[in-house]
């Protein structure tokens, strides 16, 4: 059996994954112009400043868009279909991509309110921030 691929933290992203292990969702915020950004980037796409820090996020938002997959595009998802992949817009104004849990499959709508939860993957040392309907 092929196991699911896991995130590989880099110097840029390790703060995000370390915070997730503490069950906290963080976002990059530009020190110069104050804008949040995601996914992690070295420089601000708004003002190009390289000064930034991790800021705790609310973990709340709504479903901007989603897709339902009836095919496992990776062997590790073979017994999980159908599954949802959603783009979630956070209160801070940036969007994150997440799956939604099986119980949300038949009730998700564009605009549905969501909240983050933390999935500690056993035996991996990895915690995934995921989203579910509130």
């Amino acid at each position: 059996m092929i196991s699911r691929p896991l995130p590989v933290p880099t110097a840029l992203t390790e703060g995000f994954w370390a915070a997730a292990r503490e069950h906290q969702l963080v976002l990059q915020r530009c020190d110069e112009c104050g804008r949040f950004r995601h996914y992690p980037q070295e420089r601000c796409p708004e003002c190009t400043s390289a000064a930034w820090r991790w800021i705790p996020a609310s973990g709340r938002g709504f479903v901007y868009t989603y897709t339902r997959s009836d095919q496992p595009f990776h062997p590790a998802w073979a017994d999980r279909t159908p599954y949802l992949v959603a783009t979630v817009e956070l209160e801070e104004g940036v969007r994150m991509v997440s799956d939604l849990p099986p119980e949300d499959t038949d009730r998700v709508q564009i605009g549905s309110r969501v909240e983050v939860f933390f999935d500690d993957l056993p035996g991996t040392g990895v915690t995934l921030p995921r989203f579910r309907l509130t």
């Binding site: 996914y39 796409p45 901007y64």
Partner: protein, 152 residues
């Protein structure tokens, strides 16, 4: 070649962070530049070649280039208005699904052949004299060129 335009979307980083994922701002800007240089509008086109790395990009392109209003691209295509004998023939060669993904180069070739009358008759746009070719890459950098047959 009577008009060219190139433009890049904002932010330059990620599809998911676009203000509206279904609006191709770069193509709006690139199209506007190319059409202004060529002094044409979408209504003047005899044929439109849209490089479609993804199928929905034909619909997005129709809207971004002003052929139809936002939200009308899907119905416009579904009702047959982009067929060879309809309002605006789009990708008469079949586009990327038929020719492969060559980042729009084959669309450019098709445009020139259409203007020269060198394609097989079953896909020749009658009286083809003004064509636009729209290409995109990387969600979403875009370029548009307007090609015309010199009838003078």
């Amino acid at each position: 070649m009577s008009g060219i335009g190139e433009a890049h979307g904002y932010p330059p980083t990620s599809l998911t962070q676009k203000p509206d994922m279904a609006v191709v701002r770069s193509l709006q800007l690139a199209g506007a530049k190319a059409f202004a240089m060529a002094d044409v509008s979408a209504k003047d086109l005899d044929c439109l070649l849209i490089h479609e790395g993804f199928s929905w990009y034909v619909i997005a392109g129709l809207e971004a280039l002003g052929v139809v209003k936002p939200g009308e691209g899907g119905p416009f295509a579904a009702e047959g208005s982009i067929r060879l004998d309809a309002t605006l023939p789009v990708n008469p060669s079949g586009g990327a699904l038929s020719e492969g993904h060559v980042s729009g180069m084959n669309h450019l070739i098709e445009a020139v052949r259409q203007l020269r009358g060198e394609v097989p008759p079953e896909r020749q746009v009658p009286g083809c004299s003004t064509v636009a070719v729209a290409t995109e890459g990387n969600f979403f950098d875009a370029s548009v060129v307007v090609l015309r047959r010199d009838t003078a």
